[in-house]
């Protein structure tokens, strides 16, 4: 005999089997696909980092050749940025954006599936380079003309084509998220009632739409340089290598916020939940996020303070960079304001979110030191920078996403991740992280450049490098425990079944079952306030303290439903859920076959032809397939 809750936890809603997952257009399933794929790439990228750290354990080690080292650090960066952090953010956005807004799916469900498959196939294409003569080895930033040198070696073609296609996937999903946030919100869900996570997803979608075209142009030019004598970046022919850096960083700097803003959104959901207080200064947090996004477009040249710009330009970009610290500081103070005066429960999601705040303060402050241009000319391209961006993207972004996994895991599976394992994971990760990246500040200030496969004795770098390597293995241990926790909780079904609302949550996802039904909401909710679900459970007394409302204290929640003639509001028969379709995956496959062909020109033109044919088949099938009704 199984209870209803158990049945739900064992069986995800929707069809079963591989085919059901390939053809799914359900935003929740696509979100889970993103999550599993990103987690897999996270372990691959982590192994690459461990190999790099092992080589650097001591001076002049020979664990890796220079050739292997250059491939591994390039792939580590590429993987972590494009195949881990961006897709894990996409996983959360896919799964929760519609639910947080009170919608039944994203605006374009099949486009959503297309984005995922194109991302997956592009990632696989880039990784196939390892068995096809070597992976990209020109650093993830691919500075020309190093990246356009040696055109007979196709490694950097895998990089330029792979990134190009990942960009297409990102633009498609960004357009989708923007349309979702603008048109799919439940009645009463005004823009300033959207949860901060939804807001940050929206800002990120705009950042991607406006920044990706810049790097797309750069990548096309580089591809032409490499394959057809394009000469865009060939100095000897009047081309300009610095043009690449501008095009790359006009994308690359907003990209940093693409990676971290969704994590800030998650933290802004977790802190209020576990402090049992609303987010302090909600409109300020939202506008600060948007301001970071805007100003983020005006600071790209702080990645180029040693490249030879004039001092006035350098001063301008330095000051613009400092200005970013203001909205960032606002966020930090608001997060502290949120827990101030609260009643803090230190569950694992909360621990990771608090660690996010602390680590992000370090990463933010070291970022301000880069805005100090003369000082940056010493720190640029050293391990100090490596330390800085890992404090932002690991201690920051990754900790935020891990917090999100612990927070929302019960919503995905119905089961709570083990708290004891979670706390071991947390402390090992926090200690390992600081052991790894803390010493890199010192190494960089002591003159150790990044992207160097060996270093000599006698410069005082050996001890701190050894510490950093030990820290890296500590991080491995931490995340193996995390993996075991997930396997144990979900796949071995040993996790505690906790029902719909284990954290006494504030936002709409906690009002529906765990895992949610295919259609999310039996009836579309009507929203009256920010943190609407909390306000259905709690009122405030005259002192402003939360008071549990009697009618819901006992159990079943009665969420107010939309009434009236709109068929959106009715449950059951009338719900329009999109039909499964394999055409998005087919179109994505066609594009990637096309991309693979472009890597191996001129014979690859055959593959380009086949790829175009498959893509057209996918796109036409997609637009012509009939709408079938489910239910």
């Amino acid at each position: 005999m199984t209870t209803t809750a158990e049945q739900q936890a064992i069986r995800s809603p929707g069809g079963r089997g591989v085919w059901a997952w390939i053809t799914t257009v359900d935003h929740k399933r696509i979100g889970l696909l993103y999550a599993v794929t990103a987690a897999t790439f996270f372990f691959i990228g982590g192994i690459e980092a461990l190999l790099v750290r092992t080589q650097l354990f001591g001076p002049n080690l020979e664990v890796l050749s220079a050739e292997a080292y250059n491939q591994l650090f390039t792939m580590h960066g590429l993987t972590m940025v494009f195949l881990v952090v961006m897709p894990i953010a996409a996983a959360f956005t896919n799964y929760f954006l519609p639910i947080l807004l009170g919608a039944r799916d994203v605006a374009f469900p099949r486009l959503n599936a297309f984005s995922y498959w194109l991302f997956l196939f592009s990632g696989l294409l880039i990784y196939s380079s390892f068995v096809l003569g070597g992976a990209p080895d020109g650093a993830w930033v691919g500075y020309a003309p190093l990246s356009s040198q040696l055109t007979e070696v196709v490694r950097m073609d895998f990089w330029s084509i792979g990134l190009q296609m990942l960009g297409v996937a990102s633009i498609a999903s960004s357009a989708n998220f923007i349309a979702t946030a603008f048109t799919m919100r439940a009645p009463g869900m005004t823009m300033l009632r959207m949860p901060v996570f939804a807001w940050m997803s929206l800002v990120v979608a705009f950042l991607l739409i406006f920044s990706l075209p810049s790097v797309a142009i750069g990548l096309f030019q580089l591809f032409l340089d490499r394959n057809f004598g394009g000469l865009f970046y060939a100095a000897e022919a009047g081309g300009d290598p610095l043009l690449w850096q501008h095009l790359f960083w006009i994308f690359g700097h907003p990209e940093v916020y693409v990676l971290v803003l969704p994590a800030m959104g998650i933290v802004s959901e977790v802190l209020p939940t576990f402090a049992r207080k609303p987010l302090f200064g909600y409109p300020f947090v939202v506008f600060a996020g948007a301001a970071i996004g805007f100003v983020g477009f005006g600071v790209w040249s702080h990645h180029m303070f040693t490249s030879g710009m004039g001092p006035i330009a350098e001063a301008g970009f330095g000051v613009a960079t400092m200005i970013i610290a203001i909205p960032t500081g606002v966020k930090i103070f608001n997060w502290i304001g949120t827990i101030w005066g609260g009643k803090i429960k230190f569950n694992t999601p909360m621990l990771f979110s608090l660690a996010f705040v602390a680590m992000f303060v370090i990463g933010g402050l070291s970022g301000v030191t880069h805005a100090v241009v003369p000082s940056d000319t010493q720190q640029h391209d050293t391990y100090y920078v490596v330390a800085h961006f890992h404090y932002v993207l690991f201690g920051g972004a990754i900790f935020g996403y891990v917090s999100g996994v612990y927070y929302w895991f019960p919503k995905w599976t119905g089961r709570l991740l083990d708290e004891r394992l979670g706390k071991i994971h947390f402390w090992l990760a926090l200690i390992g992280f600081n052991l790894t990246f803390g010493p890199m500040h010192i190494l960089g200030l002591n003159g150790m450049p990044r992207r160097t496969y060996r270093y000599p004795e006698g410069l005082g770098w050996a001890n701190w490098n050894a510490v950093a390597t030990i820290g890296a293995y500590t991080i491995l241990a931490a995340f193996l425990i995390f993996a075991w926790n997930i396997i144990r909780t979900h796949f071995l079904a040993k996790g505690e079944l906790v029902g719909n609302d284990p954290w006494d949550g504030r936002t709409l996802e906690w009002s529906i079952s765990s895992p949610p039904p295919v259609h999310n909401f039996d009836e579309i909710p009507v929203v009256h306030a920010l943190d609407d679900f909390w306000h259905q459970k709690y009122a405030e007394d005259e002192e402003g303290r939360a008071v549990r409302m009697p009618e819901v204290a006992g159990g079943a929640l009665t969420v107010e439903k939309q009434t009236g003639g709109d068929d959106e509001g009715h449950g059951g028969e009338d719900m329009h859920m999109p039909s499964p379709s394999y055409y998005p995956a087919l179109a994505a496959l066609g594009i990637v076959i096309m991309g693979a062909g472009l890597i191996y020109l001129p014979w690859g033109f055959i593959a380009v032809g086949i790829g175009v044919a498959i893509m057209m088949w996918g796109l036409f099938g997609w637009s012509l397939e009939p709408v079938t009704k489910e239910h």
Partner: protein, 366 residues
């Protein structure tokens, strides 16, 4: 392992840290760093105290059934946060801009030592355009830079292939060396460095296989010692006479090595002859040397080879000539001298006797 032993051990030599500046520009930057570090540490401690205090004070206590006050925000605190940030950032910005304009100003005057730098995969070529021999040759050397103490040195730099970055942290920040462009960097050193203990630096922009092994050694001299060094470097070395013990080495050298390396020698008749290709590139209307390999006229006046990576002595050099790629990761199979592409020194296939002869010859070029 025997391999590691040949890598130039830097023990006893200067450190590559930016935190112990050895010149006024380095000190200016370091002072700015100290200011920012102090402020950042203060902010960090303040924020962490707030955070940790809030976590401790407002933790959930067993048995406490009360609910917290639902505070939604406070515009005064928001404004305070903004003002606080703005004030701190202004304190940093003013000296930043002042120092920036300062360190980016190019030194002028007759006393300025002008050096042209060409970055190569994976070594540095230096041409002292004001140090000229009677026959019109400029002073040319590689990887080890010699400058007088207290003098402004104006580096004008370009690259022969990909982007590099010239960086000697004790004296100044790094400056990228970009193909097709020129960039400037000023070096001023306080004190002469002790013999055999140059200030280390290295390429700081990823430039391919041997990026880690593209190092710089900077020797600082008194004015007199510098003048002596200049005279020694401008003088030619000696070409061995036919029948001399070094003739075998010269036959091999002149047949193979001069394909890429230049040497200026005095032959038996006392004539100056320069062997090896003379190549230039032009960037920003300035002509730079762009050799295939370092000039070897005074090879053994240097303490290191392989771009400052290996200690120079007969044994190490023999090992290098036997198989350069064993010591330094390079890609000479792709060299195309006609097109001007060099990705490192090839294995010349010399037998041990030939190698010993070549090394014996090179040892005389000091």
């Amino acid at each position: 392992m025997p391999f590691a032993a040949i890598l130039a051990a830097c023990s006893g030599s200067g450190s590559q840290t930016a935190l112990e500046p050895q010149g006024p520009i380095g000190r200016d930057i370091d002072g700015l760093w100290d200011l920012v570090l102090m402020l950042a540490t203060g902010v960090f401690i303040f924020v962490m105290l707030l955070l940790v205090w809030a976590m401790w004070r407002y933790r959930e206590r067993p048995g406490d059934l009360s609910e917290p006050k639902q505070i939604h925000g406070n515009p005064v605190i928001e404004l305070g946060g903004v003002v606080f940030s703005v004030v701190l950032l202004t304190i940093i910005t003013i000296p930043t801009v002042r120092s920036l304009l300062d360190i980016r100003s190019e030194p002028v005057g007759p006393d300025v030592l002008q050096i042209q730098v060409t970055g190569h995969q994976w070594w540095w070529e230096f041409e002292y355009i004001n140090e000229i021999a009677p026959d019109g040759r400029t002073l040319i050397t590689a990887n080890e830079l010699h400058i007088p103490a207290g003098v402004s040195v104006n580096l004008t730099m370009t690259s022969a292939d990909v982007i590099h970055s010239f960086w000697v942290p004790a004296l100044n920040g790094k400056r990228d060396v970009v193909p097709g462009r020129t960039s400037k960097l000023t070096l001023i050193a306080d004190e002469p460095t002790p013999d055999g203990e140059p200030i280390p630096g290295q390429c700081a922009e990823f430039c391919g296989l041997a990026h880690a092994d593209m190092r710089i050694k900077l020797h600082v001299h008194t004015a007199a010692d510098y003048a002596t060094w200049v005279q020694e470097q401008l003088a030619p070395s000696v070409q061995p006479a036919g029948g001399s013990a070094l003739e075998g080495g010269w036959l091999t050298f002149s047949a193979l090595c001069t394909t890429c390396h230049q040497v200026t020698l005095e032959d038996i008749e006392g004539e100056l002859v320069t062997y090896g290709p003379e190549r230039h590139i032009v960037a920003n209307d300035i002509t730079f040397r762009s050799s295939f390999g370092p000039n070897l006229t005074h090879l053994f006046s240097r303490g290191t080879f392989g771009s400052g990576t290996f200690t120079l002595d007969a044994d190490h050099l023999s090992e290098w000539i036997d198989n350069p790629q064993k010591l330094k990761p390079m890609d000479p199979d792709r060299n195309d001298l006609a097109e001007g592409f060099v990705y490192g020194m090839p294995d010349l296939g010399l037998d041990p006797v030939e190698i010993a002869e070549v090394v014996a010859l090179l040892e005389t070029w000091r």
